[in-house]
């Protein structure tokens, strides 16, 4: 999600190719870039005990005096107008405070849609309950406030709406006939051509050319979308489950016409984000209703509500054509296709992004189109683009390897590029082949039968598959950190960043403690609140690098201040900022650690209770100079039942090259979680979008199949741990790479087991019978 990156790109592209940061691998660089200790250690999540004890208070658990509960009534048509809306029965129902519709909702400004401003966060620019227009099946048309959730739910069910339907485009086939280029694909051109790929394909010694399809998906975090909101005059507080507090505050401020500083958004805990916990209509409607009723409001979507109102991953249709020369290098790489989108959002599912950076080819043609449909705005979901793009690309590579009688890993060795194949930049750090080699050895790839269908145990056919994982490195500008160091030797580090269960707060506490030379329990990390220094959104796997960059900058400011305070009577006298490091509860000379003074001593001599500094991370120019991507190799072993077509993934291994790993335990969990999502993408998940009505027909965890425990084998995770010389701490974010490549690895393993090539997801048993 390069929302902020996009906005800053024009500035950055004209900046000189100068990387001012201390973390680069030059003399006098960051000593923590390679030092192990707290960093890298498998520290358990610091928020774990509170969550286990039930002490962590989530957005739906904040209670405010006089609070009322909200429930929504959703449209049942995809396009048209509300002809009449009868709220009398709802208004008369017990406990009801207010029924809000387009007829009485406060006037609000049009939501600023993502990518139109650095902190614009609206998923769609449709006006929110301002008119009678219906734009998707499931659009909220009324909101009820009542004394209890049950009363609100009941009253919402009593609302009667009549509609004047209008022709709606709810068929992907129909929409595809008018597919067009979006203005950009997250700031990149929708079409990219190097040479004449079609001609190269025709002339290739061996070629494959197929269409791959992936279905719609919906977000299903355990925590339902929820917020508790209150107004105090023109000041709005939103206790949210959010992965972008600052952008939410700014966007709500635009919508309600108040100053950004008047909107406070908190989000100390999030029960799963994955791209879904952004700004949607429920926060806006809750704030509007709260203003109208003069009461604090809590809104918690039902599971059905999450399907009706929170966007998911869109449907894709992708062509991948590969032409190989006799030596196994690529003459042509073509990856084109179309996704469904709406005219009121901006999320084109960047499925061609992997092919922009992964493999060398003489000629390349990448092109994405969007087909406008009348549907809920689709959105970012679990490695948008890369998750489904790697399914097509990596399946096609497996098909090419088969056609060439080459081992799939050997094929990837032959097409490993020396430089980024489309930008021409040097890679900052790339060890994909190393990840393949280590993964192959650990997984036992040599036991794979080259011939499909060769291994069978009883009813079960057994096969192995492999695919490349990839996700870009991102660090966003504008991330600031504050460090408060007390004379008691306690430090508080603050950034308005997001802990959604992945370990952000734990890792940055480790980082700050290591940098300050303090034990872990002497450092507190505050986050998830717009009153703190501004952070970045939790998207594009950027937070680790963005936060680390900000803490490095704030720490530099802190050391500068401390050396000033230490003065000439300190053992540190005369040392410069880059000559000292945090050590043993104080500062020490890097060259001579016996020159040391504790923080308590420095502050006592200066007669200070504390030192507080704040600084913003350096501009992320490293991404302009280098091609910075994480990669990995995903290995799957599957068992396919020859009778029923059922697929069981029996073993899985992910081998990742993601720079330096900062916490072995939280990293392993994140990789595993991503891989499990990949298994869902491969085998079970599909939103049933009824193209007659534009309505989602399986809005429930019973009928929308995420993998359950029995679908998940033991998952082995390994990594290269090779520090990236151009990123803070040598790390690259790992939030999203885990899901990428998984669907292809599974599909390729199914082919190896059965000889059946399935090109549309999910791979349900009927496709294998």
């Amino acid at each position: 999600m390069s929302v902020i990156q996009d906005a800053a790109q024009s500035v950055m592209r004209t900046a000189i190719a100068y990387v001012p940061d201390r973390w680069v691998g030059t003399a006098g660089g960051d000593p923590l870039r390679t030092k192990h200790g707290l960093l890298g250690a498998p520290v358990s999540r610091l928020d774990g005990p509170d969550k286990v004890r039930g002490a962590a208070r989530f957005a739906a658990e904040v209670t405010l005096p006089g609070m009322v509960y909200a429930a929504l009534h959703y449209s049942r048509i995809a396009r048209g107008r509300i002809a009449s809306i009868d709220t009398a029965a709802a208004e008369a129902a017990p406990g009801v405070t207010l029924v809000m519709t387009h007829l009485n909702a406060p006037r609000m400004n049009k939501p600023p849609i993502m990518m139109t401003a650095p902190k614009a966060a609206a998923p769609s620019d449709l006006p929110v309950m301002q008119d009678a227009e219906i734009h998707w099946n499931g659009q909220p048309v009324a909101l009820v406030l009542a004394d209890t959730q049950e009363q609100a739910d009941h009253a919402a069910a009593l609302i009667e709406v009549t509609y004047e339907g209008a022709p709606a485009v709810t068929s992907f086939e129909v929409a595809k006939a008018h597919a067009h280029h979006p203005p950009t694909i997250l700031g990149e051109p929708p079409e990219l051509k190097i040479g004449d790929a079609e001609a190269a394909l025709k002339g290739a010694a061996v070629s494959v050319d197929h269409v791959y399809r992936t279905p719609r998906h919906n977000h299903n975090a355990i925590e339902l979308h929820a917020c508790t909101v209150a107004w105090d005059g023109d000041a709005l507080t939103v206790h949210d489950a959010s992965q972008l507090v600052n952008a939410t505050a700014w966007t709500l401020a635009q919508i309600f016409g108040v100053d950004e500083k008047q909107v406070r958004v908190t989000s100390p805990y999030v029960g799963g984000g994955f791209g879904g916990k952004c700004l949607w209509w429920h926060q806006i409607l809750a704030a509007a209703a709260s203003r109208l009723a003069g009461r604090p409001v809590r809104i918690v979507l039902s599971r059905e509500g999450v399907f009706r109102m929170i966007g998911g991953r869109t449907v894709t249709e992708q062509r991948v054509a590969l032409g190989a020369k006799a030596d196994g290098t690529l003459a042509a790489l073509i990856h084109t296709g179309v996704v469904a989108m709406t005219t009121h959002n901006n999320c084109p599912e960047q499925f061609t992004f992997p092919a922009r950076h992964l493999y060398a080819a003489d000629a390349i043609h990448l092109e994405q189109e969007v087909a406008d449909m009348d549907m809920l705005a689709n959105t970012f979901m679990r490695a948008p683009g890369e998750a489904v793009g790697t399914f097509a690309l990596e399946s096609a590579l497996d098909e090419l390897a088969e056609a060439m009688q080459l081992d799939p890993i050997e094929l990837r060795r032959r097409i490993e590029p020396a430089k980024d194949p489309t930008s021409g930049h040097d890679f900052s750090s790339r060890h994909l082949l190393d990840a393949y080699a280590k993964g192959a050895e650990k997984f036992g790839w040599d036991k794979r039968a080259a011939q499909p269908g060769a291994r069978r145990e009883g009813e079960w056919l057994i096969g192995m598959g492999v695919a490349t994982a990839t996700y870009p490195y991102m660090r966003f500008p504008g991330c600031a950190a504050r460090i408060r160091l007390g004379a008691d030797g306690q430090a508080v580090v603050s950034i308005a960043t997001h802990e959604m269960g992945m370990g952000t707060a734990t890792v940055q506490t480790q980082h700050a403690a290591a940098r300050l030379g303090l034990p872990l329990d002497r450092v507190r990390f505050d986050y998830g609140d717009t009153t703190l220094p501004e952070g970045t959104l939790a998207g594009g796997s950027n937070q680790t690098a963005s936060n680390a960059g900000a803490i490095i900058a704030a720490h530099e400011a802190l050391v500068t201040e401390l050396l000033k305070l230490a003065g000439n009577d300190s053992p540190l006298a005369g040392l410069k900022v880059d000559e000292v490091e945090g050590f043993d509860g104080g500062l020490a000379s890097i060259a001579d650690p016996t020159r040391h003074e504790s923080y308590a001593s420095i502050l006592a001599r200066a007669q200070r209770d504390e030192v507080v500094v704040e600084a913003e991370g350096a501009m992320p120019l490293e991404g302009q100079k280098y091609s910075m991507h994480s990669t990995g190799a995903q290995f799957a072993e599957v068992r396919v039942n020859a009778v029923t077509g059922e697929v069981r993934v029996s073993r899985f291994l992910g081998s990742f090259d993601c720079g330096r790993i900062l916490n072995a335990k939280t990293a392993t969990s994140q990789f595993r979680g991503g891989i499990i999502m990949g298994l869902g993408l491969a085998l079970t998940e599909e939103t049933l979008f009824d193209e007659r009505s534009g309505r989602i027909m399986n809005p429930s965890l019973a009928e929308y199949h995420v993998p359950v425990h029995m679908d998940v084998p033991e998952i082995d995770v390994i990594w290269t741990d090779a520090p990236d010389p151009h990123s803070p701490l040598g790390a690259r974010g790992i939030g999203e790479i885990g899901i990428t490549g998984v669907a292809a690895a599974v599909a390729n393993a199914i082919y190896n087991a059965t000889g059946k090539r399935i090109r549309d997801l999910p791979i349900t048993l009927d496709k294998l019978m």
């Binding site: 069981r648 049933l688 309505r695 027909m697 425990h709 048993l765 009927d766």
Partner: protein
């Protein structure tokens, strides 16, 4: 959820007294009914909680078992005599839902659970089961989990129970009590095919209550099994399931019980297949012919035609497994 009154029955007579009148519904574990109330698909005026009725699982004189309607699914599946004498039943129950749901769900409630057709669950869709005469959006819509046997132009929904498939195979009898007195019905005759009235799902009379389920003695059911084929390894409804018991004399099928789940508006006792097998050698070829006899009338829709072949293959595999075990 629509407001309702709630009363807890102390025994069958009490329950039947309270269960009379329009809009009364008996409540077991609530694992399906409460969901449907939350979705405003069901809106009973009165809930009569019958979980206080008999939970006993006791031997019958002359063999067999009587199962109290309020017994939990978990306790039935775990009962030693069920595990030994009727493994098909224990396995069917354990193939369904989740541990938490099975702890709550009662035997009576399991029998009376309603279809998982997504159009039935969405009151924005047309459904003859919810609103007779409204039409059916499933016939031309998403119908992967829908019926291939016994469907009608009015309804293609399936009965979702696993337990009932085993009960149908075992010739279970349902003991009823009601305002007009007590009676018995074979489980296989309790549920109806949809015909023109898919809203009428069982032969229960108004106010009638399931009080127990009787399993007859069936010694060869000690060699029985249940196989469920679905879209994930657990916690999904059957695409096709097969409950079977096989009685061999040498290589000859002396007797057989076969029922299918996930294929019809009711648990589908495969009598044609059974008849085709009795007295025949237990060979894969004969198993296939038996499956064919049962499925020759099957009709596939847009998304579920694969289930005809899937049912055929699963029947053959299950019978083959039982034959091998017994050989």
């Amino acid at each position: 959820m629509t407001p309702f009154t709630y009363a807890r029955a102390t025994g069958p007579a009490d329950a039947i007294r309270m269960g009379q009148g329009d809009g009364a519904k008996y409540l077991g574990g609530g694992t399906n009914l409460v969901d449907l109330m939350r979705e405003t698909i069901e809106h009973p005026a009165t809930l009569v909680d019958v979980t206080g009725l008999s939970t006993a699982i006791e031997p019958l004189d002359g063999g067999g078992l009587r199962i109290g309607a309020a017994a939990s699914n978990t306790s039935l599946a775990a009962h030693p005599q069920v595990r030994e004498a009727y493994p098909v039943l224990a396995r069917a129950i354990l193939a369904g839902a989740s541990g938490q749901i099975r702890n709550m769900a009662t035997v009576g409630g399991n029998i009376l659970q309603r279809t998982r057709c997504t159009y039935f669950y969405d009151d924005a869709a047309r459904c003859n089961k919810r609103a007779p005469g409204a039409g059916c959006d499933a016939i031309d819509g998403f119908n992967r989990i829908h019926a291939i046997l016994g469907a009608s132009p009015a309804c293609v929904a399936t009965h979702p129970s696993d337990m009932c498939v085993a009960l149908a195979a075992l010739d279970a009898t349902v003991r009823l009590d009601g305002p007009e007195g007590a009676r018995e019905l074979p489980l296989a005759a309790l549920h109806r095919l949809p015909g023109a009235r898919p809203d009428v799902e069982t032969e229960l009379r108004p106010g009638e209550l399931i009080v127990a389920v009787d399993l007859p003695a069936l010694p060869f059911a000690a060699r029985s099994t249940y196989r469920k084929v679905r879209d994930r390894a657990s916690y999904a409804f059957a695409l096709v399931s097969v409950a079977a018991a096989l009685d061999l004399e040498g290589n000859i099928v002396r007797d057989v019980r076969l029922a299918l789940g996930g294929v019809a508006h009711k648990p589908w006792r495969a009598e044609a297949a059974e008849a085709a097998l009795r007295g025949k050698p237990a060979t894969a070829e004969n198993f296939r012919a038996a499956a064919e006899a049962e499925l020759s009338a099957a009709v596939g829709l847009r998304d579920n035609a694969f289930k005809i072949e899937l049912a055929r293959r699963t029947i053959v595999a299950v019978l083959g497994e039982l034959a091998e075990v017994q050989a």
